[in-house]
Symmetry: D3
């Protein structure tokens, strides 16, 4: 089953289930969800290409209702487009396809929600959205700074994901929530630019609320690298970093963000084969459920 | 090796080890522990039938002494009866056998401690105990409300476990400790009936202590669905739900319960094959050790 | 996405990929493939409910062309209907639904190909087809005789699968290909009735060709319990039995069967979670590809 | 539950199930089965200590009837004594305990069948039996010669298992069935002494029959190192060696041995944790079933 | 620890053990072994980047002596250079580096033996060697034809590996040993060109001997895609194809090749994370041991 | 590749990668790191012998820079010596070798950092260091008291590790940080001697700071049994004990210790095969990075 939106192809044939509660045709939908099963530059442990279908399958272990956000997926019109058709190997053509697909969705009044795949795909989405929203702000949940200019001879490695996003972000406004790993140089730059949103007594939402306050109403793109979570709750990712965050921390961040205007989001770096228990896919699916609810809110 | 107590059969032939420190004959025992290896209605990921033997095997990785409850299994007389012999398939005959077995134990002055298996077996035990203790109170540790009337065409699905317990509970007194997943309808009913024991700043024991206070001396049945724990400490369960609890939370709940009169308990939904590391079985075994100590206290 | 054919419901929402090369609408199709994700009576190690989607996903690791049967899936019109919607628990309602679904397919001129799920589902399909083809012959590839009248208190256990098929097979004509495990009583009955197709020097196809020869042109239902294969090539099944067969043996059996008239088939007992390497799903997918080609042949 | 036979202790508390069909008391038994959960000298991948309980648990996936040997465990009186209680660490005290336990069994007219644990335990059993049967012949199924005098500073390493058996074997009569790995020196010694039983066209039973013929009626001890099997059917062992044997090969060897007088046997080197699918434990259990039947034959 | 040979860098810092018996300095060595941990174009299941270090680690579970080839690694001087330093992502720069590294080795009189990594790397080695040996013959052990011109938009995908080798092979002389999977078009081309070396009654060495006979003395490059083996003995590869070969088959092929002049070789597509038992790495290490012995023979 | 420092042998041939950023020659190094791959007395689940190489491999998933300690491994001169060559089996010769190796390092002005292996190896290091620093203080991070005099007939079992350290510690000054498992007798002794450093509201660093204050400047040996961490962050250990600590707790302890004089350390009981996700190895590698930084500080 192929689904073609003008320039790019999506496919469900090889992909797994559709996300719990999703539609498969466009009528009245506000959100368009698609997967980008790409992991070509991953340096440590590959496998994020299986992320999108694992998230969809795991979604059926959850309820459609969220008692915290008091919303129900059954009341949200969103479209699951399946997998973006991509070549494996070099990242550049993949990032271009992500940019095209995102632009197509925006044209059709669909807010994009992208399931990765590795982090390098984000810059395609940011490039597209920033064309439409020049004052776009980027919020990054991540363990790693991802600000390298180049990594292992590749400018589009997942270790350069945020550097590439900054390249296409006119506002150069980025909030890096509680980054905990990077080179000495990366931390110097972060400090100099005040990009780091610190966690106050292990709780990263307090300061996020404060720094976002002056920007109410501005368009926000949220990129969630799942290794932001602690390895104990998210073992299924390529470069787990001890000292991460738990579901309650993510929950409190969504409590902050529900007062803001999210215009697009991605959730990346799930590598389900690394976690035989499947809990990583389930927390990723629950986070995706939250993102769908955030994208659906009228702010 | 078969063990027959009037109406029902127990067997150790195919089951694993006996629980650390248990007796195999009835003399002077106060507690009777048995397994119900049933998972016929599990909707997401089966395998809880292997729970009882996994708990027993894991118990040998622990000490018999608990520094928190200041008790030692070596000073507790409890009987391990092995596995209840059951047919696989439909839940109704299994629930009946659990009811019979529980009644037999009570007749022999043994407080029942049941190792599941899936949650649907609880209503058999509750039905039997409530006959003897009409003012029985039910305390539920669980991630899910389990209050559906029917699920996938089955009234005795594990998703209906608490609904079926309420059917046979004369007092209709249930405390649901920090339930975090359910349908919109389930949460409405819980709210209307004041069944939810909230967690205060992530700590579910504070409010439990308060709501239990007026009921001191009343008989309590405690059902522990292991998915109450966070998936990071209990990956080995069929429907893990992010945002759960840790050992310290369980510990503080036992500190509350040790002042109350527990007359029976079960610990269900361990699915050991889903957790290749084995940590789920070990926390289940440690919780079982606590339950044995709670059941042994004279309140 | 639901697909309703008069009496029964099929669904793709929660199920995985569609089988490589399949259609999703009925035009010009000769074969209808559907999954029955049921494992309620499995006595040893459950998990066959995940079999159908694992077969579909693994199919994408194969080519559409088979150099031995010289056929290509791209030239075969077959419909993938998704998963039959079933209740978990008791087997009787599931077997009834399989019977209904099979009858619907036959009505629509679709030869049924069923992906299990446990072996107990076969009797539903046989019952339906035998109504249309009273001289139906049953060929069973299996490690186990499956002729028990009852097992663990259940007449529809997977250990009784062939007994229940015989109950609804007017011809009582069954060929059990190289069964290698059973009780003393089962082997006596098999011997008395000449049901066993021996393997000649480890090669089960020689004698099958001989015994099938007199029946050329008669309708055949083929049930493939994947534990017929050796545990080394099919570790992902609930009751693996050492001393089984390899791909070359299956290949030679398809060489025999391609001269006969197959009117329906099933392939059951894949339990993918038991095989972390995934080779079980791939051999099951390749065998399914062969079955599609056999069902497509005009004999 | 402890079981004491004069000098040594056996225990079932921590051990798993008893072997399918076994007795737990001595009346009328001819065979005594016990486990030795020791893996202290294993040089590559440890874990054989879990072998005995894995074999017992896996036995319940099999039938009691063997259609090839036409025997049924239900007609064989054999005793399962549980696990020999041993210290971990150095091998010498463990080998002494195995010797004592074996002698006790012989005193009670029980033929010993030992479940390992690592191969170094065999010399304890051989030492005891050779005292009673000075013309004892040793038959070794193994991938490795195991004839080193010392390995990594240890004379009782599993790599020295057969060297230590020869030390205590008065007849110095050993048949090494199709050994396929060793040092240049080991192969020279094997050749010089004519110890190797070659496999004829991949079939190791032909020559075994020939070389055993002159010894009909002599007492035989059979030691089965499970790595004799091909890694594909026995992945769960510490030093798998490609190019091994399949169930049919083992079956043909039992066809030879059933005409001879087996007075004791062991089956060693199962390391179940290395094989998540469990097929290694099942083939080990089926081989153990064969050994029980061989030991029960009156030759 | 870095090792630089003129143009390219090798590293052992992050790589695992050195291959059993290898040297780390060049004196008197005839063979140079290095790893290429690249899996950027793998379409189904990635992870071959971990192949080289898994082969090295597994080598320590083997003996240095091979009783079949009657050779001992202790008598062979070969150099283990570690891992070629490569960028992840696109294949072209990696193939160039492989070509450079191979040329450097040849310059230093070292026959190259390359551990993959995915199959696309072979064309780099073939390109270099064919420059030095214009009459080079290519022998391919593989499950798949790998003759596609392009796959998923990539001309250097692993599915195009042999097409790219043919591009740089002046003799256009290739022997594809018992290929068992491909498109209808690939099989037509193979047939037209007489490239397929059939297996005679399951035994692929008979015909290989015949077709190689006229070419005695000509330089041969041997590329071993490990998925040539049956999935049961080699589950750890990305696209396992049922119906493959066993160790005895490989052994008989080495018996043929030892009479020929092998000037270079690679062994690719081991994906160790897909096989938790580790048997795939061990058979790969044993095959590598054979390749070292073949490369060492003076023909 | 062997590395010999006077009395003892180290080897890298079979061991994995070197630790990220390490040197392989002695010039200007202050710290010497080596592995002791021994697990001969482990009573529950073996496999710690694979700990050292797993820590090294996992180190490459981290950065060399630590934002908390504001240090960079690239600025620290430390030597990775590889694996100490040991015999498997009894612990006594291994402990002697550890003692010798430690003494050699001290002689060469290298502070020892030992990667286990099981906990029993610590007493060898303590014995050597206490000879040089008679006022040596021992700090133990551990789940278990490890104060048994004997366990399963073995005085050097890992369950006796601290008892054996006390035997060779002249000061008899030990701080046991937040031990949470032991026998009733062990807890009595700990209480009597004031050895336990309690955790204050779940936070073990508060009290450690207080009790260490009077000892500023005194030499400290730090032994980290990784089961001190919670099983959710460290599933890969033989006897996980629920209710443990998280990375933030370890971090706060290093904040205390950086003001003290650490003269040696070990990190033991990682059993990587028990954790297929690999997060245990990564937290162990990150903790090792911290220990290297602590050992490098001039206090």
């Amino acid at each position: 089953m192929k689904c073609k939106i003008s320039h790019v192809n999506f496919s469900f044939n090889q992909e797994g289930a559709i996300f719990m509660g999703a539609k498969r045709s466009n009528e009245d939908c506000k959100i368009g969800l698609f997967g980008v099963p790409f992991d070509g530059t991953t340096s440590f442990r590959p496998g994020t290409r299986f992320g999108p279908s694992a998230i969809r399958e795991a979604s059926y272990g959850l309820e459609t209702f969220c008692p915290q956000l008091e919303a129900d997926l059954e009341n949200i019109n969103f479209l699951d487009l399946g997998a973006l058709e991509i070549p494996h190997g070099a990242p550049e053509p993949v990032i271009s396809l992500v940019k095209e697909a995102t632009s197509d969705l925006i044209l059709r009044k669909l807010k994009p929600l992208i399931l990765g795949g590795e982090h390098s795909i984000s810059s395609g989405a940011v490039a597209s959205i920033a064309t439409n929203f020049p004052d776009l702000i980027l919020i990054q949940l991540d363990a790693h700074a991802d600000l390298r200019s180049e990594w292992q001879g590749n400018q589009h490695s997942h270790a350069c994901a945020m550097r590439r996003c900054l390249d296409v972000l006119p506002s150069r406004k980025i909030f890096q929530v509680a980054i905990r790993s990077g080179t000495a140089e990366e931390f110097q730059e972060i400090k100099k630019n005040n990009w780091l949103v610190n966690h106050h007594r292990g709780h990263p939402a307090f300061e996020l609320e404060k720094v976002l306050n002056p920007h109410k109403g501005k368009p926000i793109y949220l990129t969630v690298d799942l290794d932001w979570f602690d390895p104990s709750v998210m073992p299924g990712t390529g470069t787990p970093e001890p000292g991460g965050f738990f579901w309650e921390d993510f929950r409190s961040i969504t409590d902050v963000l529900k007062k803001h205007k999210i215009v697009g989001a991605d959730i990346v770096e799930l590598s389900p084969q690394l976690d035989s228990s499947g809990i990583s896919s389930i927390i990723a699916a629950k986070a995706t459920r939250s993102l769908l609810m955030l994208l659906n809110m009228e702010n």
